[in-house]
Symmetry: C2
Subunit: 452 residues, 2 copies
């Protein structure tokens, strides 16, 4: 018989839970489209050779092969290249942009809400199969800096539209971090940023050890790097100015980058007060970021980690002749939804879409009940007919177990129909051609739960 | 650099094409929910041992493994069972129902719109990765016959809502076909139905050969089987009555099944005149169907094959103690969308969601343009700001290439704003707090194309 064990790391939701996920996805989509992002999806597989270019990730990739592949390359890949399930939506985007560049208008603004797969050890909020929601703006040759301001604010608006409490986006600029590190006399920048990236996880002492061991930092340099990484929040602008004056005075590039970061913070403060703060410890481990970098926590749920991260990358894709810089962020939809469900933050008003269950007196008159349901649906009211002509009490209990608020009783010959609100017990005469449910009852809704 | 070759059988759409797919999915979802079906998704992988129970399909399954699986079963499967990508949404449904039976209300009405994968030879309308839209009603122990009438009519309504021309659903009942075949004295039924299933593909002569060779049929039996398989369309009811009288007079089960089939046809004629016809050549190859079976073509596009098929199965799932019968149909969304696109049947009104592009005079006043876009979005009008402060002519050309109908010009100090319909050239004074686009222009829409 069917193996019915759940698979660790492959989340599935019950219907009422799935309604929450759909609500999240629909809300994100609405905000993305309001900002002019066009939706795409990409195939689930990419050639392995492409995915492994990104490094770090190779142990996590799922390879896909036909069970009885009878010839090399038979999974469908050209040149015998092995296929893998994509582990993010950025590698597929880069390939999609190159493949379709002639059909796209640049800057290309796209959103993509789709599953990805990683063979990580499953743990709370970390899945092997998960839904991500990405927005990116991809340029051709150039990409104006203002997109680094626009795109994170789209994500802040999208997260706020979810009604899941305060969000805090922490931002930095890789050019600022790199400029300061160089200003400190540490010319081998990557190991320094790799150490800073671990600050929240391993603490300042261990970061200091890494800086000494891997970047050859002196005690004074360690202190200065940790001082830099500690710059965050409301006083960040002044602290940053001070740091630049001490360590980066001579660098025009650093001054320009600090100005860009400040413009991002100013614009954010105007559009979404309090939501975006500077945090110089945010460097993002992946080394393809070349400008702004972003991480976002739910306030009070920082243990969940970042629910929305990204940054600017000057080399998203290139075909040799043309380079495509981009800036993008990604929301971990599955991670977010699993937390909303675990903490009962939002809930579906009912587990099914049905607003009205039409009762059936006996099987001989089922078509009469079907006609009522059809008349209600014709006016957009989700309706269903009772599955069996059981006693009315049992039909009402069936509606109750489904969470359906109304049960409709077709009148016997000559009698008018009646509809009962099974929550209050109120029963009134009604006409399927005109009756309207209260607007809050018409559709299944997802609403915040008010915990006492 | 990135490998940019498309993969045969793994379709991807450009933004304007994806808008058509989204329209199809949204429309199906709306109809399914109107009928009270709750949406679920399942994980993309199932244990291989489960998927292969269905037979026939083993050569088509994609196996999934971690690239560097360092221990047996490391893909995440229990008991070292290999995982594969699901090839349909029925096997996952059966497992989901058993796994969650305690949390579901039966009959469980679910819809599921999701990707599946099959390692088939790619060809027109046959993909290796594709989206399916399934509706099923799953009972516990029993499932009343009326669901075999209800569910196909939901699919007819859903397909009609897509505005893709006439649909024709051809229906039969496996019990009718089996009863008649037994009535002809052919007791080994499966090879007979397997031969009938090939009628459209190989023609009556070849079917006759199969019947003689594999089912031991006599010349008279071959003629009778082909006569049965030829019963279809408006005269079917009378022809069927005649067949039953000649070959199945003694069978109560056959009479009951013919009555059920007739009730399905009568109900369909009332609800969706002309859309559902009897066709006794429809038997569906898969041998788990035990009642009604359905196949659906687009009228005039029969070469595409069935875009919506399914049937009744008494043994969808069982945990030994409890049996779950079901009835369901599946729409091949990718197949349908690829044909809609190829034949230009419907089209997105524009490739992006944006209704208004707000021009930028110079980068110093970008925030003024951003504020206009924000004011429009606050009233639900999809709006974006021009990517660069190029000459207005270039900004208008950018809007034109995106298909954006309106360009907004913020007024210089003291002057009012103006908005231009770039299709007509009309330009009028406008206020971002009150201006409304024509309702047809507000959102990207998917509309039928009127071919001359």
């Amino acid at each position: 018989m069917a193996r019915i064990a759940p698979l660790s790391g492959f989340p599935e939701w019950l219907p009422a839970e799935r309604a929450v996920e759909v609500h999240v996805v629909d809300t994100l989509r609405r905000v993305f489209e309001l900002h002019g992002f066009a939706g795409i999806e990409t195939r689930s597989v990419e050639p392995l050779s492409q995915m492994l270019r990104k490094g770090e990730i190779d142990k996590e990739v799922y390879v896909v092969r036909r069970l009885h592949a009878d010839e090399p390359g038979d999974a469908g890949a050209p040149d015998d290249d092995t296929l893998g399930l994509h582990f993010d939506l950025t590698v597929p985007l880069a390939r999609y942009v190159l493949q379709n560049a002639g059909h796209l208008v640049f800057p290309f603004k796209r959103y993509q809400i789709q599953r990805s797969w990683r063979g990580e050890r499953p743990q709370d909020g970390r899945f092997r199969e998960f839904v991500q929601a990405d927005v990116d703006v991809v340029g051709r040759d150039t990409l104006p800096r203002h997109h680094e301001v626009d795109v994170p604010l789209v994500m802040v608006e999208a997260l706020r539209a979810l009604d899941v409490g305060d969000v805090r986006m922490r931002v930095n600029d890789r050019r600022v971090a790199e400029g300061l590190v160089r200003g400190l006399g540490l010319d081998d920048v990557p190991p320094v940023l790799a150490a800073v990236d671990k600050l929240a996880k391993i603490g300042p002492d261990a970061v200091g050890d890494l800086l000494r061991e891997r970047a050859g930092a002196s005690a004074a340099q360690v202190d200065a790097v940790l001082e830099m990484a500690g710059v965050s929040g409301p006083g960040a602008a002044r602290a940053l100015t001070d740091l630049v004056a001490r360590h980066g005075a001579g660098s025009d590039a650093l001054h320009e980058a600090v100005g860009d970061l400040q413009r991002l913070l100013d614009a954010a403060e105007e559009v979404a007060p309090g939501a975006v703060v500077a945090d110089l410890s945010v460097v993002r481990g992946l080394d393809y970021y070349t400008g702004s970098v972003y991480e976002t926590e739910l306030v009070g749920q920082e243990d969940l980690g970042s629910v929305c991260s990204g940054g600017r990358y000057d080399d998203l894709a290139s075909d040799g002749a043309t380079r495509h810089p981009g800036v993008g962020l990604s929301i971990g939809v599955s991670r977010l939804v699993s937390r909303l469900l675990r903490d009962d933050v939002v809930r579906a008003s009912r587990p099914v879409p049905t607003a009205v269950l039409v009762a059936v007196s006996d099987e001989a008159t089922r078509s009469r009940s079907d006609a009522v349901a059809r008349a209600l649906r014709a006016r957009g009211i989700p309706s269903d007919t009772a599955p069996t002509a059981a006693k009315f009490g049992r039909q009402i209990r069936h509606a109750d177990r489904l969470g359906v608020p109304f049960v409709w009783f077709p009148g016997a010959a000559g009698d008018p129909d009646e509809v009962k609100d099974i929550r209050s017990g109120d029963q009134v005469v009604a006409d399927a051609a005109t009756w309207e449910p209260p607007s809050a009852d018409r559709y299944q809704q997802v609403v915040p739960v008010h915990h006492p």
